[in-house]
């Protein structure tokens, strides 16, 4: 706002509000970092400063990577494999369908109806398909297999992929593709050589967002994976229930789940709100 200027007092109040909001937002993560370096007894004390207030230790991290290392690494590998595979399928199907809906006119069902129908698949609560998924995967002998979870996560993220790609392709100028046709390029050629490269930032955004949501997903893995196919969220959930109140264990385990996605999210920060609103709000 160009005209109004804040007084000094106004600035101070504003900064106090910002500071409270920022501390409130980051404190749980900060606390997890502190707790992950504490001994069991220290973990229950409200102390913050290592070496001065408490003696730091690596026992939490030692437990996660060495004592329970096999389980941690297995679930990390599963998380990475499942998230990257399902995101790749989302990207492929989403880019194709998004391009189709952005560039062509559908008549029997209008483009908008098809798009809304695809969107509606994101609305239903995941528990609504838990039972059929369980039975389906049991019939296909895919229970406790990463493939089952890849298939499930793809359904969750496909509407996101289609809507965002549709959005990105719409923003691309059509003239370039038309020019390619005049030069004798086929439609497939125009898609692969012109449209896809131009939409590269969108492709990256869709892939990374889909990766984050798949990494974070809990309930399908809880139902479809038992031991072989578990992912990081399941290991986090198991950290507290197994034995007593070992907060350092929970903290370090949770951070393993949190850190990769937070780093990824900063790379696509421009698109996170856009992704969560499926393109409705361009953050």
């Amino acid at each position: 706002m160009g005209i109004q200027k804040r007084s000094l007092g106004g600035w101070i109040v504003l900064w106090i509000i910002i500071a409270i909001f920022a501390v409130w937002t980051i404190f749980p993560i900060f606390w997890a970092v502190v707790t992950s370096f504490k001994y069991t007894g220290d973990a229950y004390e409200p102390t913050f400063i290592p070496w001065i207030q408490f003696k730091p230790t690596l026992q939490g991290w030692h437990f996660v990577f060495i004592t329970a290392g096999e389980r941690t690494l297995r679930s990390l590998r599963n998380s990475i494999v499942i998230a990257s595979c399902s995101s790749a399928i989302v990207l492929l199907l989403g880019a194709l369908a998004g391009y189709s809906l952005a560039r062509f006119v559908f008549r029997t069902w209008k483009n908008k109806d098809i798009a809304i129908w695809i969107l509606s698949n994101r609305m239903f609560p995941p528990v609504a398909v838990l039972i059929p998924y369980f039975l389906l995967m049991r019939t296909l002998r895919l229970l406790d297999s990463p493939l089952a979870i890849i298939l499930a996560h793809t359904v969750l993220n496909l509407p996101l992929g289609v809507w965002l790609m549709m959005d990105f392709f719409r923003d691309l100028p059509r003239d370039l593709e038309d020019a390619a046709f005049i030069d004798g390029c086929s439609h497939l050629g125009a898609f692969f050589r012109i449209a896809l490269p131009l939409a590269a930032p969108g492709l990256v955004a869709v892939y990374v967002l889909s990766f984050i949501f798949s990494w974070n997903e809990f309930i399908f893995v809880l139902v479809l994976g038992f031991n072989r196919a578990i992912t990081i969220p399941i290991v986090i959930a198991g950290a507290l229930t197994t034995k007593g109140l070992e907060f350092w264990k929970v903290a370090s385990m949770s951070l393993i789940g949190v850190i990769p996605v937070v780093i990824l999210a900063t790379f696509v920060s421009k698109y996170l709100v856009r992704g969560l609103t499926l393109g409705a709000v361009k953050g």
Binding site: F104, I118, A128, P233
Partner: protein, 292 residues
């Protein structure tokens, strides 16, 4: 050349769209139909080989003989309305205060990504640690300043609000960032013109800003309401639906019935009732969105 374009068009447009539609039909519609067919049967997975047709018994049982279902529905509805109201209120207020450019804004942007990027189950367990009634850091801090301990997760009265609080922590930044983007997209001239004409800040906010960003508000509220209805991880992690089922969400009850207790028929029926409730609420909000 034009002819070639037209020739391929119909083939290409369907070839591009069909894989996606096919996948959704196979992995979303077919399971939903399967679950609908199961919902008319009695099938206790642990003791019965095959489902047994019982017509509408499951639905009658859920709607008229199962107070726990109604309790879960009531909790979920209260949770969604409270959480989304707080998220919108705080998010709107903060975005309005911070809509001007100021130093450190991009840093805040990144900071506020953290809660919504985190795995919800990690959020649940991080908060569960901090909220532990005896040894959690929050109660320790309260005691240090002379306030009484709060039984965050073990009191029937407090626990539902604890779940709301954690959800507010997780999703207020989303509302804030979305609304900040909406404020940024507003034309500055309008505010300036109104200010020159002598309109007060509140008048500008009430009569110019709010109507202009109303579509964004309704959209993000719609998205949050739909997503908040799915509440599962926070309940699973923080309270495991206790104390005395005071924090049992619909998703959690469906999960318990269908998967944990393996009552597949009743679980399927309940998931369909749940689905219809979410669908109904979404339709009402969609309607409302069109009128704004």
């Amino acid at each position: 050349m034009k002819l070639k374009y037209a020739d391929h068009k119909d083939v290409i447009k369907w070839a591009f769209l069909l894989p996606c539609l096919g996948y959704l039909v196979l992995m979303a519609i077919f399971p939903l139909v399967w679950s609908l067919s199961l919902s008319f049967t009695r099938w206790l997975g642990t003791i019965m080989e095959k489902p047994q047709w019982t017509g509408l018994t499951n639905f009658r049982n859920i709607l008229f003989e199962d107070p726990r279902f109604w309790k879960a529905l009531w909790f979920t509805v209260r949770f969604v309305s409270l959480a989304v109201t707080f998220q919108l209120g705080i998010g709107l207020g903060m975005a309005y205060l911070l809509r001007n450019n100021f130093r450190g804004r991009s840093f805040l942007r990144v900071l506020f990504l953290v809660p919504m990027a985190c795995p919800p189950i990690a959020v649940a367990f991080l908060w569960k640690m901090m909220l532990h009634p005896d040894i959690g850091v929050i109660n320790s801090a309260l005691q240090m300043v002379g306030l009484p301990k709060v039984r965050w997760t073990t009191s029937v009265l407090v626990a539902p609000f604890t779940i709301v609080m954690v959800d507010v922590w997780e999703w207020t930044p989303f509302m804030f960032l979305a609304l900040l983007a909406a404020f940024e997209a507003l034309p500055v001239e309008l505010d300036d013109a109104a200010a020159i004409d002598g309109a007060s800040n509140f008048q500008i906010f009430r009569n110019i800003t709010i109507p202009l960003i109303a579509p964004v508000i309704v959209t993000i509220v719609l998205i949050r309401v739909i997503d908040a209805f799915k509440l599962f991880e926070l309940v699973f992690g923080i309270t495991s639906c206790g104390p005395a089922n005071a924090t049992e969400s619909l998703s959690y009850y469906v999960y318990l019935t269908g998967i944990k207790w393996f009552d597949l028929g009743k679980g399927a029926a309940m998931s369909w009732v749940f689905l219809l409730i979410v669908l109904g609420i979404s339709l009402v909000l969609f309607r409302f969105r069109k009128t704004v």
